[in-house]
Symmetry: C2
């Protein structure tokens, strides 16, 4: 049966999860009392787990806490995570919810590169393609990625941009773009209000990894009649949640 239990494993992880939420470490008897296990059972499990480093004993007061081996296993796992692989299921779900194409992109120098894209069958064909570069200053994703830069690096990038006007709405100055980036920092999401293509609006949010850095941005794009200004907050909420879920997959630890 797929949901068959293994009693010893369940007990061991009950112990681990209890210790993970306990700040000061717990003793054998205390753990047994909180989990309804005999103290000799707890003692045996703790010994086995500490032999492998998943739990550590404080010999001064005979309390146990989570061991470094958890961090090591987690680190091994995080190191080999592939953003696109982790992101895809969440992007698909977002595409289904909003009914519009979803992109994942990163910053490369002063440009945005799309690295993943999900679109449903009967949505309008976006010009965007995986691998395509788009300008930072007039994309929601660009502003989002800029929001993750240090102030110094941001100034450097802003100073190098060309501010080519694509539409009447394109932000054409450093001041305007800086204000937009600050808005992202404040609200947690960015808007492209027909700034790159006439009739196309876009909403994006940042993706973080375990170091707390912005590593990518995820976005929804579509015709202005669908990504209508009245729906901005609603759609932004979906995009932000998707970005948060991807961040969690990448090991981001909430403060």
């Amino acid at each position: 049966m797929a949901d068959q239990k293994v009693q010893t494993l369940d007990r061991a992880f009950d112990v681990i999860e209890l210790l993970a939420t306990s700040k000061d470490g717990l003793g054998v008897t205390e753990i047994g009392q909180q989990l309804g296990l005999h103290k000799s059972t707890v003692h045996r499990l703790l010994n086995a787990l500490s032999n492998r480093g998943y739990i550590e004993k404080n010999p001064r007061n005979n309390t146990y806490k989570i061991g470094l081996r958890f961090v090591e296993i987690s680190g091994l796992f995080l190191k080999q995570l592939e953003l696109k692989t982790e992101a895809l299921p969440f992007m698909r779900r977002l595409a289904e919810i909003v009914g519009q194409p979803v992109h994942l992109a990163i910053l490369d120098g002063n440009e945005v590169i799309y690295i993943e894209k999900v679109e449903l069958v009967n949505t309008i064909r976006m010009y965007s393609q995986i691998g395509r570069r788009v300008p930072v200053h007039c994309s929601a994703i660009g502003k989002t990625l800029l929001s993750g830069l240090s102030s110094e690096r941001l100034q450097e990038v802003l100073g190098k941009l060309q501010y080519e006007p694509f539409t009447p709405n394109t932000l054409c100055s450093q001041e305007q773009l800086l204000a937009a980036v600050q808005h992202v920092i404040k609200t947690g999401w960015a808007l492209d209000n027909e700034e790159h293509e006439p009739g196309i609006r876009c909403i994006a949010a940042p993706v973080y990894d375990y170091t707390g850095k912005v590593i990518a941005a995820v976005s929804v794009s579509g015709d202005k009649r669908i990504i209508h200004p009245e729906r901005d907050e609603e759609i932004a909420a979906h995009v932000v949640r998707t970005a948060q879920e991807i961040s969690k997959r990448m090991g981001y630890i909430d403060k």
Copy 2:
């Protein structure tokens, strides 16, 4: 017996550790073959672990990999780590190896604050005290902590320092201090060559946490006849190793 095994736990963690070092996920039969376990045993363990999220199954190709629950447990643990608690055993060991007082300090604005200190019984009494602030520009710890700042923040701090000369060796200019900080970045450790107290030399190295940021510095201080220039590389190696061990405890993931 303290090293008594719990077979089921050991088998489960063998599976976990195999998956942690396998990039693409493994199937039931493959895991069984590599660990010398029957595939029905492996299947049961995988099911139990995936029910709790410690392992995840890829339903497309029936392979298993480490699950997000490991990252969550690790995150819970890392969030509540206390630097001083984790650092103390390593500081004690360093003090025993070098035979001199060992400090742990952080940056507070433009000053260094000692937050922990270990000294052996018969070492010379340092003026340093826990809680004491010392100037950034003429301490090994100060230069180490400066090395962890962004370029912009570093310039900001360097611009605000007073460069009060404590000894003939004190670095008295922004250029000198910047060069010293760049030396730390390059070599991984910093030297106070009688820059703060006549006759006292000091060697420090940076401590990182799981985000990859410099959160503290650890140092050894002593009389110049003991912390002799001829011993700098040797002592620096010990200090760097101690800082690396503390970093590892704080969840730092090596690249």
